[in-house]
């Protein structure tokens, strides 16, 4: 098989085609969608999702799921925001450190509960989704971090950098690249795939399932924490009752559209990046097309279903295979 044929058959190809088709269709209806300005808006919209999606992807590949990332994002954003508010003289990186560390700790807790008590992660993280949200209300005293409490340099990171691409975009793609290298070229990365591919076999093959699983949840938490500080930079405020609510849905949607299997063992950074870009493009296209905000959730849901159907169809020998099965 030539490398081009292999490329075309890859799961990522389907998503890329969807993305291009979507852009062309929207562009036909509303030509101003196909401009550099739109690309800029899309790129600004995606870092938040992309960073957390890298963590979620690893969790899904290991045949788990992390529903608590929205609350972790909120918690980390509040924690970092309180540092900024209460200690305006402290350097910026302390805020970053607090967000990453608090996210990592909450993720670590998820991983410990899942592995120590052998509980299904969907239930555990559903519980911590609520638990962490509650904790962040207690921590913040239910008070919002106001725009004037967010340091100016942080806001600037969502707008510029020395090379004219906003820092948060650079960070997001940097995280994606690092994730790709980690998953493809490290022993642990391959073990994550192995665990998700056949969890029962992994310990028999000498893979230490528990620490690897805990690591995956910790990374997911840390990346959600990083997303928290990106949130503060981009929106300029943090609200305990708003920040990160429903975020897990968007992220899981992007990851699944990106071809990552809910059944574990399958998924790539390239696919996830495309999934995130696709969702970002939809986000930006809807207002340009004049679609009411009320429709947004319904359209997201529909897109996930379509993506799943297309993915399944492609993997089962194309549309012809699907029709043959249906008609039998």
């Amino acid at each position: 098989m030539s490398s081009i044929a292999r490329l075309l058959r890859a799961r990522e190809a389907g998503i890329l085609v969807m993305l291009v088709l979507f852009a062309l269709v929207v562009g036909l209806i509303q030509p101003r969608f196909l401009t550099a300005e739109t690309l800029r808006i899309v790129l600004l919209a995606v870092p938040l999702i992309m960073v957390a999606a890298m963590g979620q992807m690893m969790v899904l590949v290991a045949r788990h799921v992390d529903l608590s990332i929205g609350s972790i994002l909120g918690f980390s954003a509040i924690a970092a925001g309180m540092i900024f508010r209460d200690h305006p003289d402290w350097p910026l990186f302390i805020g970053f450190g607090v967000a990453l560390l608090s996210g990592a700790l909450l993720g670590l807790f998820n991983g410990l509960v899942v592995t120590l008590f052998k509980l299904p992660s969907i239930i555990v993280t559903l519980g911590t989704l609520s638990l962490y949200r509650g904790l962040l209300f207690i921590l913040s005293g239910s008070k919002q971090i106001d725009p004037n409490d967010i340091p100016e340099p942080l806001i600037k990171m969502a707008q510029t950098s020395p090379i004219d691409i906003p820092w948060i975009v650079i960070i997001a793609f940097g995280v994606a690249l690092a994730t790709h290298v980690f998953l493809t070229y490290s022993q642990i990365g391959r073990q994550i795939y192995a665990i998700g591919s056949n969890p029962a076999a992994a310990p028999l093959r000498g893979i230490r399932v528990m620490p690897v699983t805990i690591l995956v949840f910790t990374l997911s938490g840390a990346l959600a924490g990083l997303a928290g500080i990106i949130y503060a930079a981009r929106f300029g405020y943090v609200n305990p009752g708003i920040t990160g609510v429903g975020f897990e849905f968007t992220v899981i949607a992007a990851v699944v559209i990106g071809g990552v299997s809910i059944n574990g063992g399958v998924g790539s950074v390239a696919g996830t990046v495309l999934g995130v870009l696709f969702l970002g493009a939809v986000q930006v296209a809807l207002p340009i097309l004049g679609v009411s905000g009320f429709w947004q959730n319904a359209i997201y849901g529909g897109i996930i279903l379509i993506a799943l159907v297309i993915d399944r169809t492609v993997r089962q020998g194309g549309l012809r295979g699907l029709l043959a099965r249906g008609g039998a």
């Binding site: 391959r190 795939y193 076999a201 039998a328």
Partner: protein, 508 residues
Amino acid sequence: MSATGPLVSARGISKSFGGVEVLRNVDLDLMPGEVHALLGENGAGKSTFSKILAGVHKPTRGTLSLAGQPVEIPSPIAAQRLGITLIHQEPISFPDLSVAENLVIGQVGARPLGRVRWAALAQEAKRLMALLDVPIDVTKPMRGLSIADQQMVEIARALASDSRLIIMDEPTAALTPKEVETLFKIVRRLREEGRTIVFISHRLEEVRAICDRVSIFRDGDRIETAWTADLSDAEIIRRMIGRPVADYLHRGTSHVGAVALSVRDLTLPGRFEGISFDVRKGEIVGLGGLVGAGRTDVARAIFGVAPASSGTISVDGKPVTINEPSDAIALRIAFVPEDRAIAGIFRSLPVETNITAAVPEKIAPRGIIRRATEKLLASQSVEKLSIRLASVRQPIGELSGGNQQKAILARWLLSDPEILILDEPTRGIDIGVKAEFYDMIGELAASGRAILLISSELPELLALSDRILVMSEGRLTADIPRAEASQEAIMFAAVPRSGRHTVSGAAA
């Protein structure tokens, strides 16, 4: 064997699960450079013993030493580190990873943050597969490999980690004779290199072909260890089951009646072609051939799982259309599939639900399940087939393989089928239960059922069948009456040869 001491010395090994002792005081020495068979019925303790060597289970009591040094083997990783590899009965693999990755993942010495060198990995994998002389593309994912190929990958993995002790748990169960030959060649070479092989198999002829010594287990005790050549088959079997065995006697074929099932020119491109045969009431027709010859595909086509694209099926002389299994069930055809784990059982559901699954009209006459009826029917079946279980409410997945198989047979007997298709009904079942199965199959035929029996075990086919059909590469190549049937005749027809003219249609 060399003059040095044993590679492995087990002394007083005992193991209990939940208070039940499954291994009692086992002493065993394994010498360097020997192939050592562990024999025994299912549940005799041979698999538990191997798993203790491989670090999967920890012994309750007893000591192990390796090359004279006392050792503990607390985990599979520790076993690997000591140079012990267990090749599981059902090859375990990571279907989404490539063959090459499957060979090395979890391997000792790999640092967690170490780099995966893809090019070197592929090269090493190719070298190992070449050693085994199996043409497998190592860059392809494991998913989609045949069981035989997966087995070869497992063996390659043992070579990759340079193991001193390689334990093979029923490695030949899913292999064709040619693949078995390849495996034996490899085993002999490993023995010459001074490695120790533990070989678990139910097939005595294989044990004879390859094993220097045998150890026989029964009910958790090691009964005897001896040179293979010093024991006759009958002696081995007697020690395994603890009682003398009569040969399976073939029942008379006096009650063969009218044609019940008739297929003509059944074809599914790429799977089978021009298949024609009849099965009469009261007749057991054996269907032999190598794994992959298309026998299961024919059965699946008759049962409507994957219908043929052309050809006709008649039941009791009338042409019928079977597009899905429910059509076949309505015609009172039953199919006990080969791979019960995938196609046969509802693993997490209770035994009673599994047994009554094919007869909804009996347990739920008006669409509402009558618990009492369900329980009664299930309990009757359990008693009739002597299925061993704690309760009919127990999830079927907790039963042993043989008892699961009996429960599936019970399911189809409840539906009172006229035509019964059995696909490898006794695979992985121990000898005692097999004999019970043979009796049951004989009784079913005697009561006027038409039975199509697919089996890769030649003695089984010979013992039970009135006629034996043989398939090779998707075609029928022989229809052998009982009087002329022999292992040689079946194998002659089963082995593919280029340019041979098949006798398709000969069955009519």
